[in-house]
């Protein structure tokens, strides 16, 4: 048996024969032009063919495609008709290039033009340019449209959205993508269509063509040359997976309620505004943790107020009445942005990070708070301050929030004056004085990853001690219970965000101590709702956890 591995894009199993597809045809540089008129005619014929195919695709699929997919096709049609493309190709042909060479250099120029706009959204449209120009190049090479004849696993290099959408979905059982990023249009469309898929690196192995294959999207594996025993094993897995999916789907519109009627909110953790989708807003109860530091990372300079405002507003609007909790930036030497110019430290987890930086860099904190307060006018937004260990830090954060709001009021910019300010409970100190913090914080959210590392004194990034770490340690759990009890005494809600949110062993404990909200990676939300429905808190023995 042979196995090809990669990184999962969409879970599920696919069975079929492998078809190889390469979207981009490289122009041969050594070929000579047949003369301007002849090359021009060839180019025009190819371009018209692509326009016709794209138009047909649009007409055929219009009813089934999502708005965003239709957008892409519309943009392609406009680009195929664009004067800049026509001029660039024409100039190339005048210089004595072949149609293939002219389209290839026009494509490069247009991509450069878009990438130089300095705008990420526009720069991404370079993908669309590459796609339409490679379609024209394909038409020039006399390539026929890809048609599937039997259940197929597609191994595709630079797969374009139009090509993907043109395929018979009933026969497309899985895809292995090459040279395609997880956030590309193609990847987004594959996820929305729900096709089992993973991304492989390197080049397509041509010997795979025509082979019988099994694709495991969740694991990111493609199996070939297997015996019937493996095939049986996988068809059983696929059946179980399907049945489980159907069972979990039934929880989509339902709240998470235990057997004895205890309700708990199940929310999602996100890192980027693009992560928040309408689908997520439909099956979860909100965003329990938006890690805003990701708005700061992978940049060369501080994001300004407007950039941040747009990112926060987008998420808040997507979730409407459901609450979005945005954590102010948790930057430190472990999650580092160069322009912060943070000194190197021996022990970053115990070092200069998040609220500690905010206390020195008032300007920075105020910019983020202004952006957050502005976004609060557009939905149900709450903010959460990380790394709190005493009341003065919370006082400072609340004071700064009031200052941001006062500034906005003066400038006649709308904000929600009732926006809640809560804290992360992730230092043992915060848990121990949670009675005092509860008097000032609007809510608590227990950050289980950091609370575990600080309580057990085990660096979570140090592989040598990873095996000693135990998030089920009664010390960690007692701190959680103490925090929950103090929150409830003060009448404020308490949530859990971090890896433990969907921990099967701890779920009964969380329900028993009255945790109000769990926040986790979105893929675990339905599973967690299903697990909650099977718990009877009357039967949970707290001693088992903290006795």
């Amino acid at each position: 048996m042979n196995r090809l591995c990669g990184s999962s894009l969409f879970a599920g199993y696919g069975f079929g024969r492998i078809v190889i597809h390469r979207e981009v045809v490289a122009a041969k540089t050594e070929e000579k032009s047949q003369g301007y008129e002849a090359e021009k005619a060839r180019y025009e014929k190819a371009r018209q063919q692509v326009i016709t195919e794209t138009q047909e695709l649009k007409d055929r699929e219009a009813g089934q495609l999502k708005e965003s997919e239709l957008d892409i096709i519309e943009a392609h049609l406009a680009m195929l008709d664009d004067l800049d493309l026509a001029d660039l190709v024409d100039a190339g042909l005048q210089e004595g290039k072949t149609a293939e060479q002219a389209i290839s250099s026009a494509s490069d120029s247009l991509c450069q033009m878009l990438e130089s706009s300095g705008d990420e959204y526009i720069a991404q449209r370079a993908t669309d340019v590459k796609e339409i120009t490679s379609q024209i190049a394909g038409a020039l090479a006399g390539r026929k449209a890809l048609v599937l004849a039997e259940p197929t696993i597609l191994a595709a290099d630079n797969l374009g959205v139009s090509t993907l959408l043109s395929l018979n979905r009933k026969l497309l059982s899985g895809i292995v993508l090459y040279n395609t990023g997880k956030t590309s249009h193609t990847s987004i469309v594959i996820r929305s269509l729900g096709i089992p898929c993973f991304i492989a690196s390197g080049d397509i192995d041509d010997s795979l063509a025509g082979k019988k294959a099994i694709l495991d999207g969740g694991k990111g594996e493609l199996l070939t040359d297997f015996d019937s025993r493996v095939e049986e094993e996988y068809s059983k897995k696929a059946e179980d997976y399907k049945a489980e999916q159907i069972r979990l789907e039934s929880f989509r519109d339902k709240p998470a309620v235990s057997k004895d009627g205890k309700h708990i909110e199940v929310c999602c953790n996100i890192a980027k505004s693009e992560d928040a989708t309408a689908d997520m807003a439909s099956f979860s109860d909100g965003i329990g943790l938006f890690r805003s530091e990701f708005v700061y990372l992978d940049r060369s300079d501080y994001p300004d107020e407007e950039t941040q405002f747009q990112a926060y507003k987008k998420v808040v609007e997507t979730f409407g009445k459901k609450r979005t909790i945005i954590r102010t930036f948790d930057i430190g030497t472990d999650k580092k942005a160069d322009y912060f110019h943070l000194p190197d430290e021996d022990n970053p987890a115990l070092g200069y990070r998040s609220i500690r930086i905010c206390r020195d860099r008032k300007d920075l904190f105020l910019t983020q708070l202004r952006a957050l307060c502005r976004a609060s006018a557009y939905g149900n937004l709450a903010i959460m301050i990380p790394m709190i260990m005493d009341e003065s830090e919370l006082d400072y954060a609340i004071e700064m929030t009031h200052e941001a709001q006062a500034q906005l009021k003066k400038e006649n910019i709308p904000f929600n004056p009732d926006m809640k300010v809560g804290i992360m409970v992730e230092t043992p100190a915060a848990a121990v004085i949670s009675d005092r913090l509860a008097k000032k914080a609007a809510f608590f959210s227990i950050g289980t990853n950091d609370l575990t590392q600080y309580t057990l004194a085990i660096d979570r990034t140090n592989e040598n001690v990873a095996r000693f770490s135990n998030p089920h340690h009664p010390a960690v759990l007692r701190l959680m219970k103490l925090t929950a009890d103090n929150a409830h005494k003060a009448g404020i809600p308490v949530g859990i965000c971090g890896e433990l949110g969907h921990d099967e062993y701890l779920l009964p404990f969380f329900l028993k101590i009255g945790i109000d909200e769990l926040s986790m990676v979105s893929t675990y939300v339905l599973k967690t709702k299903a697990m909650v429905s099977e718990i009877d808190t009357g039967k949970v023995d707290l001693d088992k956890y903290i006795g």
Binding site: D82, S116, S117, I122
Partner: protein
Amino acid sequence: MTSFEYELKDPNGLHARPASEMIKIAKAYKSTITIVFGTKKADAKRLFAIMSLGTKQGSQVRFDFDGEDEKEACTAVKAFVEEHF
């Protein structure tokens, strides 16, 4: 020359889909139509030129119309821009 100024309300600025509709309108007129954004200029009949202006929400742009049917062109383009951007 006829002109109008406009502050973009659309979160993505002058982006592909509505821009391609606007181009169809612009192409119906003989006048030269130029979009001015800061120091950058783009022919309003060219999609890539418009996209690479890199406009976004809040951007202040000016449309200049020059030619025999500039008044009519301005009325038509302005109506579309106000509704879609």
